[in-house]
Symmetry: C2
Subunit: 243 residues, 2 copies
Amino acid sequence: MARTALHDNVLDALGQRIVSGTLAAGTVLTLDTIDSEYDVSRSVSREAVRVLASMGMVASRQRVGLTVQPRTSWQVFDPRLIRWRLESDDRVAQLRSLGELRSGFEPVAAGLAATRATPEQCGALAAAASDMVVHGRSGDLEAFLAADVLFHQIVLEASGNEMLAALDGVVAEVLTGRTHHHLMPANPKDEAIDLHVEVARAVRSGDATAAREAMAAIIEEATGAVVDVDTDEGGGPDSTNVG
Amino acid sequence: MARTALHDNVLDALGQRIVSGTLAAGTVLTLDTIDSEYDVSRSVSREAVRVLASMGMVASRQRVGLTVQPRTSWQVFDPRLIRWRLESDDRVAQLRSLGELRSGFEPVAAGLAATRATPEQCGALAAAASDMVVHGRSGDLEAFLAADVLFHQIVLEASGNEMLAALDGVVAEVLTGRTHHHLMPANPKDEAIDLHVEVARAVRSGDATAAREAMAAIIEEATGAVVDVDTDEGGGPDSTNVG
DNA sequence: TTGACCCAATAAATCTGATTATTGGAGGAA
DNA sequence: TTCCTCCAATAATCAGATTTATTGGGTCAA
């Protein structure tokens, strides 16, 4: 494993160090430093640095070296960067940002899906919602999560907008991140599940307004739940909100 | 200029060829081909390819070469990719996608800004809205566009969400792209300008709901305008919608 | 003293050539 | 046919040299 993707290892290591703040903005590195620190050749360090530069995380200048850039210049939609932030202390802030973002685009996606979804997508959506009902009752959290993720991915895909569809990974990260970091508790709320069923129904019947509003209600409820447990990462109430 | 950023030239050239469809999905390249075609060394082609790979546009495999990837695997939020698409025949589709996206996140940003904007940001927002009124009357389209772009950037910045703030470039591209490609006509509508003033007022007074609704109205009107002129890129009606 | 100009050190940028590892496919054996 | 082995193509990596741009400091003249 260490043999393959040599430059990817270096990229990951540097990215995580920058995100975590170990390498603060303004810190200056040199290629030589990276070469010797990770024991790789110039090609490898250069390619890793080139990708970091394309993400706005470092800037390279001759005679100076590689300067770590401030957060404002980062490409925060890069999935790699999102993953690094979710793995770091920055996790809660990242989840909050993503949650606010979701409250914007997911209702829009649901509305568009009501107009554009194919019959197959409508069927898949109903199936996913049904799975959520089943696993919500049985208490199988992992299966519930899987159905939840699938549900939202189908909606995004059915929106017919490739940029919305591209956000599926983001949504999946948020949902799994919340569950696995215990930012939401054990028993999915019936109301939240019902809202998913309602979205599926509205999309099938082509009711864009209803789809949009139901999806907005889903996100709003889930967002509220995160705020509630914001300062209490470990524990959690005995009922939960599902996104 | 051609001397600096050698690898960036290659990156741009390859990216544009892939976006335009000249290099269709499934096409296989080799590093040797790139080396000789652009007359650069291995290091340069490798670094360009590495960035393209990080954008999901090509995948490299030993013994095979570089395979151009289908659109579904592209990182469509990468600003570079957005620029390439706006420069290509794909422009109208890209603008439509971005428009739908805006209708999701901009109202949310306005609502958050109403809660979080600093007094300075409120002042800057009022100033930008005022500029829009002035230049809308005087008919100075470029100055109007600049004020419009600035207005939306302030709102995104004031949202206090770094992912929303990062979308400022996207919004700027949409607004300037629409204007410069004559997807919207000469005289800004008074109603649209009034809505901007209303957003500024709502943000200053902390009225999140009003800010959100006014911003949603702005986007909705602008989106409708694009649909109207969708098949008539060159001409245009004699009144316009402003985003 | 002050300002403009020049120089040398530094580190990225680029080039060159070689070695290594992977893998798709060809060819032979069971 | 089916499976195994070998080969050649190509990315991946390494090592070192050369080129170029930047910049801090020194020199010299006003």
